[in-house]
Symmetry: C2
Subunit: 245 residues, 2 copies
DNA sequence: ACCATGCTTCCAACTGGATTGAATTCCGCC
DNA sequence: GGCGGAATTCAATCCAGTTGGAAGCATGGT
C-alpha cells in the first residue's frame, strides 16, 4: 500500500483498469481519515446514515442485536472495504459498526455516489457489480448458516477470509492473522463461543489448522474446500458487459 | 396490472417517478416471454448466465445444493422481481431456478444493463439501490437463520412475504396465498419439513395464524413483528441522493 | 511482582430441533 | 366416485449444540 495508491483503488483496479479521472474520483473518497481504538462503536443501527467509510487499516465488523441480546455479526471488514454500502438504500443504518482492533477509516458522504453515477458509467457498473457480488457472498454465508455443521461453518469462514485477504495481499500464503475473539466468531457463524472453542480444538487435532497466538495456519485447504464446496467469489468477476469509457 | 404498465414498472415506480424514456427502456426488458410448468427447473447453478428474468406471474425460487444433497433455498421470487440479478457480477449462475407453480417469465440479456448505465443515471441509481436493499434483506434473513428459533423464523418469513406482496398489491389485507410446500419452506428457513409442520400447528393453536388450503391468514401481525423485531425494508427506500434526469 | 481483566478451555446437564418410518389427509385426474 | 401420488401429520428416539459455572492463561497496567 504505497501512499499514492489507496487500498480502495488497489482493490477495485484488481477487477478492471481504471482511467486517471476515475482513480482521482476514488482518491477524493479517501481524503479525510479518522482513527478509532479497538472495540470502539463507530455508529449504531438506527442512526441516520450520511456517511460511508473506506477501511484504511485494521479490522471491524457490522452486527445487529435482537431485543433480548442475541447478536448476529453480519460482515467482517478489511482494509479496502467500503463499510455501510447496503445502508445507502435506506434512510437509517441497519447495523452497528464496531472495531476489532485499532482502525483507520476514511468517511465520505453518500452523496458522492451521485457524481459517480452521473459521470462514470464504468465506475457505476463496478459499484453495481460489487453490490451484486456481495449479495452472492451473503448467499454463500446463508447456505453455510442454514445447512452446515459447526466444523463446516468454521472452515467456510476461514476460506472466505483468506480469499478476501489474498486480493489485496497477493503474497499471502496459508497463514492469516485472526484478531477476532471466539465469541465474535460465534456471533458471526450463529454458534456459541464454547462450541467454537471445541471445534477449533477438534480441527487442530485433525490436522486441518494450526494455531499460534492469534495467527492461524490453514494446513489442508483443499480438504476444507471440498468439505464446504467452497467457491471463491472474489477472484473472478464478469466485467465483459461493462460500458467502456 | 394493466397491459400497458408492466409489473416491473409498477414495482420500480413505487420508489421514484420514472421518465417516459426510462419506462420505455424498462418495457423493452419485458418484450419476450416464456411460460413454465410448476416444478420446472429453468436454469442450473454453473450454467453460463447470459439472461436475467422478470417475473410476470407465478412464484419461483432460487436454491443451492450441497454435494451431499442438503438444500438451501435462497430467494423466493414474486411477480415484478428481477431474477438472477446477483449473478450478473459473475460469469456463471450460482443458484438453480425452479418454479413453484405455473409461471411466466420475461428473459432479457444482461447486456441490456450496459445501456441503462450509459444513458440513465437515475435508473442506474435505482438498480444500485435495489441491489443494496436486497443485501439488507439478505442480512435480515441471515440474522433470522443465525439467531432465531423455529417459530421466530417462520414468523419472520411470513412478515417478509406479506410486506413484499403489499408493494404490488396495495389492496392486500392479512391473508396470503402460500403455494410452497412445507419442505420448501424448511429449505428456505434451514429447518426440516417435520418441524415446519409442528411449528405451523403450534402457531395456529396459539392464534398467530389461521390456515385454509394454501391460504394463510396472519391474525396477530403486531405480536409477530414484536417477536422478530421486524423491519419493513420494502416500503421506504432513500432516493434523496439520486441524480435527477 | 502483582493484581485486574478478558479470553479460552473444560465439565456436566440439558434441550430444540433432527431423524425415521408409518399413518393419514389432500388433491388432481381419469 | 374412486385411484395414485404428493403433502402433511404423528410418534419415538437421538444428537449437535446450548447453558452456566468454574478453572486455567495471557496480557497489560501500576
Amino acid at each position: 500500500m504505497s501512499s499514492t495508491s489507496s487500498c480502495l483503488v488497489t482493490k477495485l483496479s484488481h477487477y478492471v483498469s481504471l482511467s486517471q479521472a476515475d482513480c482521482a474520483r476514488l482518491a477524493t473518497l479517501e481524503k479525510a481519515e479518522r482513527t478509532f481504538d479497538a472495540g470502539h462503536e463507530v455508529y449504531q443501527g438506527g442512526d441516520e446514515n450520511k456517511d460511508l467509510y473506506v477501511v484504511k487499516h485494521g479490522w471491524a465488523f457490522s452486527y445487529t442485536d435482537l431485543p433480548d441480546g442475541r447478536r448476529q455479526i453480519v460482515k467482517i471488514h478489511h482494509p479496502g472495504d467500503i463499510i455501510g454500502f447496503p445502508d445507502v438504500a435506506l434512510k437509517h443504518a441497519t447495523t452497528t459498526l464496531r472495531t476489532v482492533e485499532d482502525v483507520c477509516l476514511c468517511p465520505f458522504p453518500k452523496s458522492s455516489l451521485d457524481e459517480i453515477l452521473r459521470e462514470s458509467p464504468k465506475l457505476s457498473a463496478l459499484l453495481l457489480s460489487i453490490a451484486l457480488r456481495d449479495q452472492v457472498v451473503l448467499i454463500d454465508v446463508l447456505r453455510a448458516m442454514g445447512r452446515m455443521s459447526a466444523q463446516e461453518r468454521v472452515s467456510y469462514m476461514l476460506l472466505d477470509l483468506i480469499s478476501r485477504l489474498r486480493i489485496t495481499n497477493p503474497g499471502m500464503t496459508d497463514t492469516i492473522r485472526l484478531p477476532m475473539t471466539q465469541s465474535q466468531i460465534a456471533d458471526y457463524l450463529g454458534l456459541t463461543n464454547v462450541y467454537i472453542s471445541k471445534t477449533f480444538i477438534r480441527m487442530e487435532e485433525d490436522g486441518y489448522i494450526h494455531r499460534d497466538q492469534n495467527r492461524l495456519q490453514i494446513l489442508r485447504e483443499d480438504a476444507m474446500i471440498e468439505l464446504t464446496d467452497f467457491h471463491d467469489r472474489y477472484a473472478d468477476m464478469d466485467t465483459s458487459w461493462f460500458p467502456q469509457d
